[in-house]
Symmetry: C2
Subunit: 317 residues, 2 copies
């Protein structure tokens, strides 16, 4: 059994490699929900959907999120309302792009949760509809919101920071509102306890994996099983392949390098897989107290993703 | 000033005639919200939207509801989830067709109401976005739900009765849940008091106009101004042009004819406009205590709608 801690695009690609080398029923992904947001009354779980659409072979390959062959009629029609809304309102805002087909996922989720279903129940239904054989589990069924303190502006929600502001702001602090009282979703702790190997996917350590580790009980379980936990660095040659991990690490006082990643994960993982571009930093990573494994980590083809997954799961212990 | 009590398709056509013969700023439509429903988490106001889309020239002329040139990507995608939902759930149901562009209206409304805006505030914003010059006002900002008692089945909501069951069931009773504690929306009573003429549009008297009259204060205002109130019969030669008015009237003990319509409206309106096909019933209508005006009421062309509107507003007093 393999359990993967997952954010969005990077984790989705890693999992698409993993399912090539291991049977899906042996895999559980525990997915970040700190980015979840209600927009236009609809419950949106970006990381769950990115992982699901990717594994279903339905992801838009150009963006890395959303559905392939998507249409944008609803967003186009929403533009009509942008000019009439009160200034203080985000109603009618279209910076968070929701394709017409993608809307169906949020409509289903919203309907079921309004009936009282938990996010993990609905996630099982939705992934079943897409024919996934692996298990996707939200980190928690409780509300946890990743929030960013931006100098001179106060706090932004995740999507305001990430999409509306294109993560092009200096972040003074990150917090996971609600995490202190959140409980791991059903199956999360069991999946960590029963896994032969736990992989921390190449996701943003601070705002994709960070929220998962902030749910009480999860970090402790990883610490207890540290010898079976392998992380894959999302930082290659000092930069993030996608997203703001590099800038955010620097803003928050971490070195934007595999060594910085190692310092974040040293207490919960015993090994770090780094890219060949960072082979010169193997000693530095080991100096932080983690074994360091060098591999090709830029998953530009399915074969590379599969090889990386194989490397990761054989690097534990 | 002219105030119109309005349901859906019939009222929308009547109003599209009225705006040809009177300036839009002189017109207020008080619209039924008893059909309003939350589907997939989205707030849907079918009659408000039918009237709005019609007056904006954007209605689908084939259905009489929804937008012209609509696409159905979200509904198609929702089908995927229909098979995985628990049996007791309506999540993923697609019998209530929501086009992709139409979804934007519901998304905007839902977002604004989640922020605390009232339905009448949001309606003003939405109709402004569509460039309407007349005023559309929901009958109430409070929740009123038209509900149907069906023999052997218990109660159905409006859309279950009307769309899912295609109003092909025997109705034992209709009620307007919440009406007793609802208040007229801001502007409703003023629009009735200040109108030179009040027109009851050719909508279903029991389930389109009935809910409006059930909001405390509205019926009393009509009774007080009865000499200025004109109704247009939605029944022509004993049948409804569209929808279940004829069957429903019979089910609930009313004669399915202009005489039956006259009996429903006699206390709130002083005149009834009936179709030329019913000219033989003029005496019978007058026997119920209403003046009876004969006109062409089947609005198959814009010119006929305009002439009918002119007839209606000149028939009062």
């Amino acid at each position: 059994m393999i359990t993967v801690l997952a954010g969005g695009v990077g984790a989705a690609r890693f999992l698409s490699g993993l399912v090539q080398v291991r049977p899906q029923p042996e895999i559980t992904a525990i997915v970040n929900t700190g980015d979840d947001v209600v927009m236009h009354g609809l419950r949106i779980s970006p990381d769950l959907d990115t992982v699901m659409y990717t594994l279903a072979g339905a992801i838009n390959p150009e963006t890395g999120w959303g559905l392939v062959g998507e249409t944008w009629q609803a967003m186009g029609a929403l533009d009509r309302y942008a000019d009439v809304r009160p200034l203080a309102s985000a109603a009618g805002a279209t910076w968070f792009r929701l394709g017409d087909k993608d809307l169906a996922t949020h409509m289903y989720r919203t309907h079921r949760m309004a009936e009282g279903a938990s996010l993990s129940e609905v996630t099982a239904e939705i992934t079943g509809a897409w024919g996934l054989g692996l298990r996707l589990v939200p980190m928690t069924d409780d509300q946890v919101e990743t929030r960013f303190t931006v100098d001179g502006e106060g706090e932004l929600g995740f999507q305001e920071y990430f999409v509306a502001r294109r993560h092009d702001v200096a972040v003074a602090a990150v917090r996971f509102a609600g995490a202190e009282s959140a409980r791991p979703a059903p199956g999360v702790l069991d999946a960590l306890r029963s896994a032969d190997t736990i992989v921390i996917a190449p996701s943003n350590p601070l705002i994709s994996i960070g929220p998962i580790l902030a749910v009480p009980g999860i970090r402790d379980e990883l610490i207890a099983r540290r010898d079976r936990v392998v992380a894959v660095s999302p930082i290659v040659a000092g930069a993030a392949l996608k997203g703001p991990a590099d800038r955010l690490m620097a803003d928050l006082g971490f070195e934007s390098s595999v060594v910085g990643v190692a310092r974040i994960y040293a207490d919960v993982a015993s090994a770090l897989v780094v890219d060949v571009a960072d082979s010169g930093l193997v000693d530095a990573v080991q100096g932080v107290g983690m074994r360091c494994v060098v591999a090709e980590t830029v998953m530009s083809t399915p074969a590379i993703a599969a090889a990386l997954a194989e490397t990761a799961i054989t690097s534990a212990g």
